[in-house]
């Protein structure tokens, strides 16, 4: 293949990578007819990657736990965490989707269905989601501490989610 073609292809690839690189969602400003093929190409090659790690702000963290009750009303608490830090990072990434209001009810129900499927004794399940409220540096120096704030508490019967 002629070198000029290779160099041109490399150039176009890098321009696409640069286009999608920042935290600015350029996707919203490009005509759909162009944006979609670029996004698809980028999804196969990695060129569609925003490099806004911890930026412009460091988001907070959510956690989810489940309260299961058996037929006798005995309750126990479980969560999704594993022994692997890497697997837990990925579970935390998944929890960030909770921030999307239109996805939230489906996610909560899906989590409940998953946990119930692993606990045949459970008759009801309560999904509790909490967000960590972190004080600013100035507030922390004034004595304020980080605290978990409950943002969701939804109860399902087993037959509702299985």
């Amino acid at each position: 293949m002629p070198r000029t073609i290779i160099v041109a292809a490399v150039g176009i690839h890098l321009v696409i990578a640069a286009l999608f690189s920042t935290h600015v969602r350029v996707e919203k400003h490009i005509p759909g007819a162009l944006e979609r093929p670029l996004r698809i190409y980028g999804s196969y090659t990695g060129a569609h990657t925003h490099f806004n790690f911890f930026a412009p702000t460091v988001p907070s963290q959510a956690r989810v736990h489940f309260v299961l009750a058996d037929a006798e009303g005995k309750a126990r608490e479980v969560d999704l965490l594993t022994a692997s830090a890497e697997a837990n990072q990925r579970l935390q990434t998944m929890l960030t989707f909770y921030e999307m209001p239109h996805v939230r009810p489906f996610l909560v129900r899906a989590w409940a269905a998953y946990v119930v499927s692993h606990h045949p004794e459970a008759r009801t399940i309560e999904v509790r989601v909490e967000i960590l409220e972190i004080p600013t540096l100035a507030e922390a120096n004034a004595g304020k501490k980080a605290s978990w704030v409950e943002v969701e508490k939804t109860m399902f019967r087993r037959d509702e989610v299985s």
Binding site: L14, S21, H23, S43, T49, H50, L91, L107, A140, A146
Partner: protein, 313 residues
């Protein structure tokens, strides 16, 4: 456009790659990290990739473009043959691990890269809600491994075929390394600009928040907020290093800025526990600027009298 041999007069700051070793290190480092990731995905596949995991495919697929591959489509095709979605996931993970292992040793390297990349695209799309920033970096690396001459050194292919260096070998290495350098410059410029627009990065709150998040906490540092100046220096340092990187790597200060960047990644690994992410970034930097660091190291150790001056040259 010509890419002169670095050993000649044209061996400028733009193009200095004179061997395939950095690209071999790129292949080996990337493949080793892919295998580490594959091990995690295998062990927790029921949680992270399963059709009926915490986020079932019926939900995660809603976010995917129909032109992107996902396991649910493939499962529908193979189910008449009695293959379950769990077996399909396991098969894809195994194929991906085989591709990564072959890439690691450099055997049938281009095919191995193609196998690792194609299976990775499906795995990543299927479990896209579980892939953080590292997912894109692996994809970029694998895509480049398909096209770049990553097996010309330290590979089984090299041993078996005993290939001779073609006249344009240096040119290939130079172009490949240049692509990695430009891509890294894009990555750090974007990351630096994104941070610079956030108020938290100027006040030091960003580092404080990152250290406070349980998902990243490695050490118990309850009183770290008592050192706001230190946190502010760390935050501003990260922004400055990332903004300076795409400028200084094209100057004679490139070894220094690459070294500072590598140290930043080591810090991220130690203090935030992001070992795999930091590992990928270090591998990319070694591939792009490994020769720079090597030469600078030789020069510095030579000037300190650690190696004879004629060897350090």
């Amino acid at each position: 456009m010509k890419f002169p041999n670095a050993s000649g007069a044209g061996g400028s700051l733009l193009l200095e790659a004179s061997s395939f070793l950095p690209l071999a290190l790129f292949r080996i480092g990337l493949a080793a990290l892919l295998l580490a990731q594959a091990q995690v995905l295998w062990e927790y596949r029921e949680l992270l990739l399963d059709e009926f995991g915490p986020v079932p495919w019926s939900i995660s697929d809603q976010f995917l473009d129909p032109f992107l591959p996902r396991m649910s489509d493939l499962a529908a095709w193979v189910s008449p043959a009695g293959i379950s979605s769990r077996q399909l996931v396991a098969g894809f993970l195994l194929a991906h691990a085989v591709g990564a292992a072959l890439l690691l040793v450099g055997y049938c390297t281009r095919g191995a890269a193609l196998l690792a990349w194609s299976t990775y695209v499906v795995l990543r799309c299927t479990g896209h809600m579980y892939f953080y920033g590292i997912g894109g970096l692996f994809l970029i690396g694998l895509f480049y491994c398909i096209f770049m001459p990553v097996a010309r050194q330290w590979s089984v292919d090299r041993l078996v075929e005993a290939r001779r260096q073609r006249p344009d070998d240096h040119l290939d290495a130079s172009l490949s390394v240049l692509v990695l350098r430009i891509h890294l410059s894009i990555v750090y410029l974007a990351a630096g600009l994104s941070k610079a627009t956030g108020e938290q990065w100027w006040s030091g709150d960003a580092v404080w928040r990152a250290l406070s998040l349980p998902r990243f906490q490695q050490f118990d540092m309850p009183q770290v907020f008592a050192y706001p100046m230190l946190l502010q220096v760390a935050a501003l340092g990260a922004v400055i290093v990332q903004l300076a990187y795409p400028v200084l790597v094209w100057t004679r200060l490139r070894a220094l800025i690459v070294l500072l960047t590598e140290l930043m990644h080591v810090g991220i690994a130690i203090f935030l526990g992001l070992w795999m992410f930091s590992g990928v970034m270090i591998v990319f930097n070694v591939a792009a600027f490994g020769e720079t660091l090597w030469r600078a190291g030789r020069r510095w150790s030579g000037s300190l009298g650690l190696v004879p001056s004629w060897k350090a040259r």
